[in-house]
Point group: C2
Chain length 354, copies 2
């Protein structure tokens, strides 16, 4: 590696095109040696973004070996896990091997510490030596290999009181509860689309707390019998659950008069399929807020959709990072033992819990 | 036309796929007969969205006749002007021919009134009989044909004190100044990317007013010698103008220490090319707001870009509609005679001004 100048954003790792930042780059240099402003980590597992994993699984007809081959080839070519179709990535869990000399005092971690990356795999130099196993239900990939984190790259030390893989599952969507806490006010009506998924469940629990006794939380998902949906209803984390597919805009419209007559002050979109922008807009009040946490969101479908139906709503692009979001998300599990149990049951790997 | 049920959102005009709303539809029925919940209009001119027009012109190598043929074929096939690459459309100007019977009392317009549509062409049933002329500089297309507006479709009567085509140019981007007025507070630093374009100029003028004497407005565009850039600087609508291409993120980074050391409280992206999400994020303060008015914005590039650089910013999807936005935008021209003169010079067609 011959590098003229180190960049806090990691441009010194970009192979193509020149001058790009790592997220926009086609290819990164994933050489497993840390520059002075980098962390080198031994990766144990990836947690692939839900939209990305779904797309890969579908393109591989659900075959685990084919998914492994696909991911190996993708990462070998790009030097990062950056899905070409969805544009999204995921995060990793691993152990710090080297802390660059200029980061020693500020990194907050030391060699040997276990961490989770809170920065997208789409900009993380990654090298995979081998893939050991893939959990086809959750998008977790156990592997041997290395990753590089830059000075601006976010990461969190893994907590002592939760299994690694549960912490990983929570941290992957840590932005959701943090943003809900910011956006929702006591007394608000909150609609959560994709309520029964990982980020949806966390969003509902946080919304129920923040909206308070005078507020209402309405979960929306195609199937009211999924584990997530049943969990939300049984524990009272939603005041109503609407069984409807947000892609079928007319179906959502038909459900509104009974389930959401007042419309939502805040709508959180946590859906992992495309085409739900308009439903999100239609369930929201004029001057309300729609928060698109889904990586499937189309910017133009949202912008033109709101204009097309003459709806004056504020639409926010989900930012995976919010100050203190990792702590907020992990604390939510500690505050709600039922939620903790749900995550343990769903996301703790069998090898470790048996 | 055999239609079972009329829908305020216009689904009764969707030919394919069934159950879609007009914006998501592949093809619309543009038959020029008004149902009781529709307006039928004789279209005089289209104002194509800047990103869409640029893409079409590039794909036609800048040839006017080729652009006309391209637009004719696109509209004949889809029943609407809906660019397949950019996903965006534009608006039209025309004269009301028929007001559906159920809208007579609430439409606010009568047959013969001249109006501009404030709803995207991506969901407006459109039929073109012939194209007369295309202004390759502004994206206006003079034509003969018809369009349908739905009950929820927004439109504005054209003002008496401005030429039609100037009003059209302003109304096309009317959301920009209205949103700036909402987002900016006195004393704020405001960065406007793509400052010298149509929406950028309006955004700068509104930002200068709303930020007040204690605020700062910084325009950013690749060329400080364009008519828009010179206008902004000469009339003091920007406090500083940065000559930089927002696609070159490293160039923007290099310009920040001198031009925007405090970073922006509010950043308005009015750029009509792709790849400027990260620059928008990087010029913005932590806990600041980025408003993406550009239809070229990539949702994932914005979401993952902010996360990748660990920037806690609120990113808003530009909504072309805001209550009162048409009146706000037109009033801005009345309040600032220099701005009015600039729009008259740039957007009044030669036939009408000579």
């Amino acid at each position: 590696m011959i590098v003229t100048k180190l960049c806090p954003l990691g441009t010194h790792r970009v192979l193509e095109p020149a001058g790009a930042l790592p997220q926009a780059a086609l290819r990164l240099d994933a050489t497993p040696v840390a520059y002075e402003n980098e962390l080198l980590c031994d990766v144990e597992a990836l947690n692939i973004d839900s939209a990305s994993f779904r797309q890969i699984v579908e393109s591989c007809a659900g075959d685990e070996a084919a998914v492994a081959a696909y991911v190996l080839a993708l990462v070998a070519e790009r030097g990062k896990h950056h899905n070409r179709v969805t544009g999204s990535g995921g995060m990793f869990i691993g152990r710090v091997r080297t802390v660059g000399t200029s980061l020693t005092d500020i990194a907050g971690v030391a060699p040997g510490d276990r961490i989770a990356s809170l920065v997208s795999l789409t900009l993380t130099p990654l090298r995979i030596e081998s893939i050991h196993r893939i959990d086809m239900a959750t998008g977790r990939i156990w592997m041997t290999g290395t990753a590089i984190l830059f000075a601006t790259g976010l990461y969190a030390k893994l907590p002592d009181d939760l299994p690694d893989d549960v912490a990983l599952a929570v941290l992957d969507v840590a932005g959701a509860p943090a943003q809900v806490r910011r956006l929702v006010r006591p007394g608000d009506t909150v609609a959560v689309l994709g309520a029964d998924g990982k980020s949806g469940v966390l969003a509902c629990v946080q919304a129920r707390e923040t909206a308070g006794p005078m507020g209402r939380v309405v979960g929306i998902a195609p199937d009211a019998q999924t584990p997530g949906a049943r969990f939300l209803v049984e524990h009272g984390f939603v005041d109503a659950f609407v069984e409807a597919d947000a892609r079928q805009t007319l179906g959502i419209l038909a459900a509104i008069p009974e389930a959401l007559p007042e419309l939502a002050d805040v709508t959180i979109n946590c859906v992992n399929v495309c085409g739900t922008e308009l439903a999100s807009i239609l369930v929201t009040k004029d001057r309300g807020t729609v928060y698109f946490f889904s990586m499937c969101t189309s910017f133009t479908a949202a912008a033109l959709g709101a204009e097309g139906v003459g709806k004056d709503v504020t639409m926010i692009v989900g930012n995976g990072y919010a100050k203190g979001h990792a702590a907020t998300a992990l604390q939510t599990l500690r505050d709600y033992p039922a939620l903790r149990d749900y995550f343990l049951e769903r996301y703790a790997s069998r090898e470790k819990t048996i």
